[in-house]
Symmetry: C2
Subunit: 321 residues, 2 copies
């Protein structure tokens, strides 16, 4: 992140002049970045979410380029829009950085942001640039989306529903473990997914139209996120491990069986979509991995694997591991 041209040698306007031309606009954007605020065509209801990544906690420069971080922070925000059944429209970007940060890192980062936004058909609405103490680099994104029908909440899962996932499980966490172990070559797809996660954004609105009763994106691991649906809905979710065998098998060669299963059950940053649907056919692209039932007398809402409670890890921001 250092080396090259430090930001401190430039005016804020010089930095913006390098970044703004890279960022995609949109026909939905009535007022482009540069005024006090952006004006965007949204529709009557707007979906809004925000998420932040911090150097040293959410990424290491040894493992991720500025462009990688741009891709990642956009994906994790847009996944939250999709998980409500929304269609992303635009993002606001904040960079708070040590003035020693290089312009070259910032430009590379802006390319990553821009590519991911363009791929999703999303405009950059505005942003903010601020200086931070030595060593600090922080990127914060707010994403806005439009919602045609009803939002799909975490709280709508019903007994008798099926639990389904769209996308991979455990790949991003496996990539992180391999980077930590210095064995990235063992599973290059997993490492690439850790650097640039993918979320099936189109599938959020599609699941909503298909009648999904609850939905979220897998940010903190299948067990932890599935447990959130169970608690918000007041139900028990039963995962069938046989349905996860392909996910585990895809990672076992690189990590061993135990770590592979742990990645699939508890791996965060995957940004696949997890949803419950009424019994019957699932939309194309989704696969069943379990079911929803009522809690028995005195049983708390929870998530089980083959009928057993499984201790889960997953990330907590303030409590050290």
């Amino acid at each position: 992140m250092t080396g090259g041209t430090p930001l401190r040698t430039l005016d804020e306007e010089d930095v913006l002049a390098r970044i703004l031309p890279l960022l995609p606009g949109s026909q939905a954007l009535d007022v482009a970045p540069g005024d006090d605020a952006a004006v965007v065509q949204t529709g009557a209801r707007t979906v809004a979410t925000t998420d932040t990544v911090v150097l040293g906690r959410d990424w290491l420069d040894a493992w991720s380029s500025g462009a990688d971080i741009g891709h990642k922070v956009i994906t994790q925000n847009l996944a939250d829009i999709a998980a409500m059944g929304g269609e992303p429209i635009g993002v606001l970007l904040t960079l708070v950085a040590d003035p020693e940060l290089s312009l070259e890192w910032v430009v590379d980062h802006a390319h990553g942001l821009a590519d991911e936004c363009a791929a999703a058909g999303v405009a950059v609405l505005g942003g903010d640039l601020s200086s931070a103490p030595a060593g600090v680099v922080m990127v914060s994104v707010t994403a806005l989306g439009r919602l045609e029908g009803r939002p799909v909440l975490r709280s709508g899962a019903k007994p008798g529903d099926q639990l389904a996932v769209c996308g991979s499980l455990g790949l991003a966490d496996a990539g992180l473990r391999l980077l930590q172990a210095g064995r990235a070559e063992r599973h290059t797809e997993a490492v690439a997914r850790q650097r640039r996660p993918r979320s099936p954004l189109d599938q959020g609105p599609r699941a909503a139209r298909a009648g999904a009763t609850a939905m979220l994106d897998v940010s903190d691991g299948l067990l932890r996120d599935g447990g959130r649906i169970a608690r918000a809905s007041g139900v028990v979710i039963e995962i069938e491990s046989v349905a996860l065998e392909p996910d585990v098998a895809a990672l076992a060669g690189a990590l061993g069986e135990t770590a592979a299963l742990d990645c699939v059950l508890s791996g965060g940053e995957e940004h696949s979509l997890l949803a419950t649907f009424p019994a019957g056919t699932l939309p194309e692209g989704w696969r069943r991995i379990g079911s929803v039932r009522s809690a028995a007398d005195g049983e708390p809402p929870r998530i089980l694997v083959d009928g057993h409670a499984v201790a889960h890890t997953g990330w907590d921001h303030f409590r050290p591991d």
Copy 2:
């Protein structure tokens, strides 16, 4: 910010359980914080802006409480919505903090955020909580608003327009200078304004309805922000210093004439509204401080005081003063 109960001793969910009940909701809010994203009733066009404050750069704990910072960061964001002619609806809040930060600071901060949002009739839509390296505390806000008519841009000032301001000039900067000099008792109103700036939010949409041709809020000083209107509009703005005499007089007793004038011309963080209107009557609450004319042959768009170019300072984020 330290002392008390460090955040690291708490789960993220424990912290949220302390904060969320303090924050105001709204009937416009279809989905409350806690799901993947918020859903809010906006209208067909949404105004969006984001702004960040960082401990040590934007505030010092010796001078500002957590509640003060809450008030300030909300005001500066909502002022940007008002400056487009928009009416604020909601905010998304991000706190990125050293895990040694005390829960007591965070709760105090949440009270400041909540009070300022409630006063403006604005809901808290969602947010994010992340840990940061030692000593770092950063608060980022994204504000959303609705826009009934056309947005008021910086670029619409026309020759023959009058330049007008709604609100004070220089007060917040005077307060900062007095805090820096250890002489807060010399002008307690200015010091209070530095800690908790005020913006005439209702006057943004009112100015838009009254035909304002350009508008912004005074974030970086009258000369710097007025210069932005001049450049964006391709005009020359002439400030009449006689119109600023009451502003200077209000500060001269505490600071002396020279510093008082400097605060009025260059003081940032004021968040008063600055706008251009066609000749004629101004809306109530606005006062004329100058006029707009065409640039002469070869003259660049610029801002003048009594016909003279005045060197202005004002804040640049990456270049040290």
